[in-house]
């Protein structure tokens, strides 16, 4: 380093190393102190390029601080505080360490200036976050974790191949800058695939609901914030204006809603909602105008908070009652009133209800799309926002908090508001959601481009409220089609799950069969002929060679017979014979 610059990720990494030594009353303050310090460090970063390291021929840049990286680093480190507060009653140090390393990976990617550092932190994110799945310790966790890791490793390999190819094409350029979306080549597409795997863009999205619904209660709160939004950051940095992202994002926004409607698990519904919401940001990056990129950043910022809030709320339900399945819950507003209220704020925010954060961020992307005449994409996003209200504003609240009480009596007894730290974390996130929605300059002044945008126009208000009203009526009219059922939904992960199973089947059945066949054939054909041949040679040796030459073998055999008979005697005779022979030997040696 040319001058001292403290990387915020370093605080989390060192904090994680020290944490196991923190016992007793200092542990909880320490747990909070580390992310707070990280946040303060992020706030104090000055714009410019820091942390430049010369490594062999490459100049590695660890700290590129500009408008775009600042807003993302800000919200990531803020979310780390909220997440750690929520997770404070988790006793396992390893879970906190995994979460912190995961955030460190995300901050490293956001602040890096070249592909080598990016790749390093990119992989740190994947390998740290998989532990958040494994720490659930459920029956599915191990397999889900391995699937998650597999997909992210494949995505990472695409990224690696892409930037190595780019390195050769450009004659040694590793810098992470806009890739030139007007003249895309193979390297561009490889890097793009690497990025959109993490952004959960179809057809690479199945890992997200799979992993988030299986992660530990606190783990899911971290996971829902960092991987996809870091991917949005790198897309906004490298691929702003890449047109193919517009249809992909629009499909993604609707795809998530469709799966959310038929899903039964509360956390999985919000995982599908995450896919849908990240779709908005992907569209924004694809449009690529200043307003659209601002919209993507603002929506990522707002999304991290309300999505964290929703996962904290449903996580609290899971933590307190032991399930998150809608068909086993209902009527919980009486038992968990605070959790209900706070989660409702998250639901209204994600649905883009006026005065909440989604309203002021989501609409920027839609406005940018319509202003650039991407009408069908704009309308797809408006439809998806109606669908989001259907899910997060109506379906989940209705079937968890109101609706028919399907709780078992034991579950009903257990249900209560969660410990204070979980409520406090939800409270902070909820206040932030409302604050962003009410006081727009707070968020808008952080955005990377200076753009005038006013969300609270009469037209926008009426449009949003009418869509929400219309979908609301439809929910109650068609409620019987929304009734949660104890089912899971097949998705594109079917292919690789079944491919894995198919491989196992081919391996265990076909290869095993071939192996058995070869073994049997060998036994009957190979071994039999070998035995026959060796029997022949044994006979030949015995009768032909020995008989013809000198009869040594016969003599040895008859001697062996004598010795055998001698050995069969009692041990004192053996010792006597051995001693006699030895004595005779000595006498012969001495006197002859």
């Amino acid at each position: 380093m040319n001058n001292f610059w403290l990387h915020p990720a370093l605080i989390l990494i060192i904090g994680g190393l020290i944490l196991p030594f923190m016992k007793g009353p200092i542990r909880k303050p320490f747990l909070l102190m580390v992310p707070v310090l990280t946040f303060v460090t992020v706030l104090s970063m000055s714009k410019g390029v820091h942390g430049v390291v010369q490594f062999i021929d490459w100049q590695l840049i660890f700290g590129r601080v500009d408008n775009l990286s600042q807003i993302f680093a800000y919200i990531m480190s803020l979310m780390c505080i909220i997440g750690t507060l929520f997770a404070m009653n988790v006793e396992e140090d390893a879970q906190h360490i995994a979460a912190w390393y995961y955030v460190a990976g995300s901050l490293g990617v956001i602040l890096c200036g070249d592909y080598v550092v990016l790749f390093l932190f990119w992989e740190l994110m994947a390998f740290a976050s998989v532990f958040l799945v494994w720490f659930r310790r459920g029956p599915q966790s191990l397999a889900t974790g391995y699937r998650y890791l597999l997909i992210h490793t494949i995505g990472g390999l695409f990224l690696l191949a892409g930037f190595v190819l780019r390195y050769y094409n450009t004659g040694g350029d590793l810098s992470f800058v806009p890739v030139g979306v007007d003249t895309p080549n193979l390297a561009t597409y490889l890097i793009l695939i690497g990025f959109i795997v993490n952004a959960a863009v179809p057809p690479f999205h199945s890992w997200l609901p799979d992993a988030y619904a299986e992660a530990s209660v606190a783990g899911a709160v971290f996971m829902c914030a960092f991987t996809t939004k870091t991917a949005i950051y790198v897309l906004a940095r490298g691929f702003a204006g890449m047109e193919i992202l517009i249809p992909l994002g629009a499909i993604m926004a609707l795809y998530g809603v469709v799966y959310g409607v038929i899903e039964n698990d509360g956390r999985r519904i919000f995982a599908w909602d995450t896919v849908s919401q990240v779709g908005y940001m992907v569209v924004g990056v694809g449009i690529g105008t200043n307003l659209a990129i601002n919209g993507s950043c603002a929506h990522a910022f707002a999304h991290i908070l309300y999505n964290g809030l929703l996962f904290m709320g449903t996580g609290s339900v899971l933590y307190m009652t032991g399930t998150c399945k809608l068909n086993e819950l209902g009527g919980l507003y009486k038992k968990m009133p605070r959790t209900f209220l706070l989660t409702l704020i998250g639901g209204l925010s994600i649905a883009g209800f006026p005065l909440f954060s989604g309203f002021v961020s989501k609409s920027m992307i839609i406005s940018a799309g319509l202003a650039e005449h991407h009408y069908w994409a704009g309308f797809a996003l408006l439809l998806a926002s109606g669908g989001t209200f259907l899910l997060a504003g109506l379906k989940v609240p209705y079937y968890i908090w109101f609706g028919k009480n399907n709780c078992s009596s034991e579950r009903w007894e257990k249900a209560a508001d969660p410990p204070w730290n979980m409520q406090a974390a939800m409270g902070i996130a909820a206040v932030m959601c409302a604050f962003i929605g009410c006081y727009t300059p707070y968020l808008y002044n952080m955005l990377p481009f200076p753009v005038e945008y006013h969300p609270y126009t009469a037209y926008h208000l009426s449009e949003t409220l009418q869509i929400i009203g219309g979908t609301g009526i439809m929910f109650f009219v068609l409620k019987r089609f929304m009734e949660p059922t104890p089912t899971i939904s097949l998705d594109l992960d079917w292919f690789y799950r079944m491919a894995g199973r198919g491989f196992f089947w081919v391996d265990s059945r076909i290869f095993q069969f071939i192996d058995t066949c070869v073994g049997e054939i060998y036994r009957y054909v190979g071994l039999y002929s070998l035995m026959t041949i060796s029997r022949f040679w044994s006979w030949f040796d015995w009768h032909a060679i020995d008989g013809v030459v000198d009869g040594t073998a016969r003599s040895v055999r008859s001697l062996g017979g004598v010795v055998r008979r001698a050995q069969a005697a009692n041990i004192q005779y053996s010792i006597f014979i051995a001693a006699s022979v030895a004595a005779a030997g000595v006498l012969i040696f001495v006197f002859v």
Partner: protein
């Protein structure tokens, strides 16, 4: 807050009517009383356009999702278990 919820739950008809009236008023306000010059397309100037967009969109999403689910996407919970 719980008592407020119970108040509405005990009067489902009243609650439903109140919500419908509110939605209707918003739709009327949004169609006739505000400046529609921000609209991007001509069809947005049709009265109650966004309410119908919400109604039809919501119905489409619910029914299409359910239809796809019934085609075989929704399956038993132990589907992946060996």
């Amino acid at each position: 807050m719980i008592s407020l919820i119970e108040f509405f739950r005990e009067r489902p008809k009243f609650t439903a009517m109140a919500c419908l009236t509110l939605i209707g008023l918003i739709a009327l306000w949004g169609s006739f009383m505000i400046d529609l010059s921000h609209a991007h397309l001509k069809m947005e100037k049709i009265p109650l356009f966004w309410t119908f967009f919400g109604l039809i969109g919501g119905a489409l999403l619910i029914l299409v999702s359910r239809f796809l689910g019934r085609l075989g996407i929704m399956t038993r919970e132990d589907y992946y278990d060996e």
